[in-house]
């Protein structure tokens, strides 16, 4: 299936209702969505709850499996499953991060991480599941080590951003952490071998970076390219030296590759790069856009082009888009309209 031909369509599979306030974020459980295990996803909302959804294999319909409530006292802004799929971390405006475990079919809160001075905006697990990162309006990024018995120890408090940190994301293969902020920059954090973490690069306007709040970032499967999206209405693609990266050089610099502008006319809140290389974006203009690398053989090098767009994918702002695990081209989006929509990208033939 060669999607470079552009013969693709976006099918709307189902709308998941249940949350009573805007849905901010969602996360697909990475240990699900295989031939044996039906896909599971978690969503979090301004209604202060987290909902777990599962697709029934027999009729392929999604249903709500669990509602995680009475733990967070304010909006739950972000959620992320550990790589094993056994733990779920949720970050909230109540300044805490909760860790949940599925114990005999019930989700229980097994740990609460405190320390941030105000709203937690994002949570992210590293590739091995040994580290968890959180970030906050307090301008800091915290790195927590996962200890036995569901204990979490803060190993570093990273200072450097001058404003609200909107998202953190670990690199897919290396223990290098990326953060993006209201201060318009993306920062790269690495450990020097003695346990000290520091900022090894800042991607700002002088590096062809964004001119307003950077809301999200995502990596391609290989980990040598990154996509960022912003309030400045653009999507930017960055790349690093593959050779140096493969040698484990976590200080290899990132460089701007190209900027995609004119595709959204309001703040772009989310971008996600699929395993196959399709970039999905969701914005406050209620629309979804899909981009792929252009193979037009231009002398100037690789560029990205629009593959497909869906106007009015939701009735209100789209806050998050995430590709599902497994082989199907499933995508989920969340919105201020209180719903989650499941989509499938399919060939037209």
């Amino acid at each position: 299936m060669d999607f470079y031909d552009g013969n693709m369509e976006l099918k709307e599979i189902q709308t998941l209702e249940g949350h009573t306030d805007r849905v901010w974020s969602l996360a697909w459980n990475p240990a699900t969505g295989t031939s044996d295990i039906p896909p599971v996803l978690a969503s979090c909302s301004g209604d202060k709850t987290v909902r777990i959804w599962e697709q029934t294999p027999s009729n392929r319909l999604w249903h709500c499996k669990a509602v995680l409530e009475e733990t967070h006292t304010r909006t739950v802004r972000s959620c992320a499953w550990s790589p094993s799929g056994k733990l779920l971390a949720t970050g909230s405006f109540d300044a805490t991060t909760a860790i949940w475990e599925n114990i005999g079919g019930d989700f229980e809160c097994v740990a609460t991480l405190e320390g941030h001075e105000n709203e937690v905006k994002s949570v992210s697990w590293n590739a091995s599941g040994s580290l968890l990162a959180t970030c906050s309006r307090d301008k800091t990024v915290w790195i927590w080590e996962v200890m036995p018995g569901n204990e979490f120890e803060c190993v570093s408090v990273l200072q450097g951003h001058t404003q609200d940190v909107k998202m953190v994301k670990w690199h897919p293969t290396m223990d290098v952490l990326f953060s993006c902020s209201y201060d318009n920059t993306v920062k790269v954090w690495a450990e020097d071998g003695t346990g000290d973490w520091h900022c090894v690069q800042t991607l700002g306007e002088s590096n062809n970076g964004h001119s307003s709040t950077v809301w999200a970032l995502s990596f391609n499967a290989e980990g040598d390219r990154m996509v960022t999206c912003s309030d400045d209405l653009t999507i930017k693609i960055w790349e690093t030296d593959v050779g140096r990266m493969e040698l484990g050089d976590d200080h290899a610099p990132w460089n701007h590759l190209c900027t995609l502008s004119g595709y959204h006319d309001r703040t772009i809140f989310s971008v996600h790069w699929s395993r196959e290389g399709i970039i999905a974006s969701g914005a406050a203009d209620d629309g979804l856009r899909f981009f792929v690398e252009s193979k037009d053989g231009l002398v100037d090098g690789p560029l990205y082009k629009l593959l497909l767009k869906r106007e009015k994918a939701h009735n209100m702002d789209i806050n998050s888009v995430q590709w599902g695990p497994g082989e199907t081209r499933q995508l989920a989006s969340t919105s201020d309209d209180g719903t989650i929509k499941i989509w499938e990208l399919a060939s037209l033939t």
Binding site: R22, G46, R74, T75, R77, F93, N118, E119, K121, R137, D164, K166, Y182, S212, T213, D231, R266, T267, A284, N315, M316, D317, D336, D337
Partner: protein
């Protein structure tokens, strides 16, 4: 949150007489049937009830808002509000902006997108204030803060009997 009076002598303008409209505004239908001018009058009628946090006069009487301040695009479902804080360094600009946003949520269907900015040249930190007022996540978090929420409620509802 205690505030000293920053602007002790505001200039007060005569309140324009305006025909009161049907107060049942919060409907799920589009606002297409109404002419734009009527919509503006409706907003101003409700805004005439918002008190500046520091003074007993309404935002309209202090020339914070006027008919020129409001742009509505019915088709796209977008609203732009431009307001003038009473003085250059008014630290209440963000509170006034929050109040406007909460009030507008009551007036318009939920899918309307609202942008609120300070009138160009009317504030020392124009860019910074505009950025904060239009960061949806910051607004949501601010309204979950009980102290800020109380302040906003006082501004909006303190004259209700």
């Amino acid at each position: 949150m205690t505030l000293g009076l920053i602007n002790a002598n505001p200039v007060v303008h005569a309140k324009k007489e305006r025909v009161a409209r049907n107060e049942d505004l919060h409907c799920d239908d589009a606002v297409d049937p109404l002419e734009i001018y009527d919509i503006l009058n409706l907003i101003l009628f409700f805004f005439s009830d918002i008190r500046d946090p520091e003074h007993p006069y309404s935002l309209e009487q202090l020339s914070v808002l006027s008919e020129e301040s409001i742009t509505v695009d019915d088709k796209l479902g977008r609203i732009l509000i431009t307001f003038t804080p009473t003085i250059q360094h008014c630290s209440m600009a963000t509170i006034i902006g929050l109040c406007l946003r909460v009030k507008l949520q009551e007036c318009f269907p939920p899918h309307y997108k609202v942008d609120i900015k300070v009138f160009p040249g009317s504030h020392a930190d124009e860019e910074a204030v505009n950025k904060q007022l239009n960061d949806k996540e910051r607004v949501a978090a601010a309204l979950e803060n009980p102290n800020l929420r109380q302040l906003v409620d006082e501004c909006l509802y303190s004259n209700e009997l």
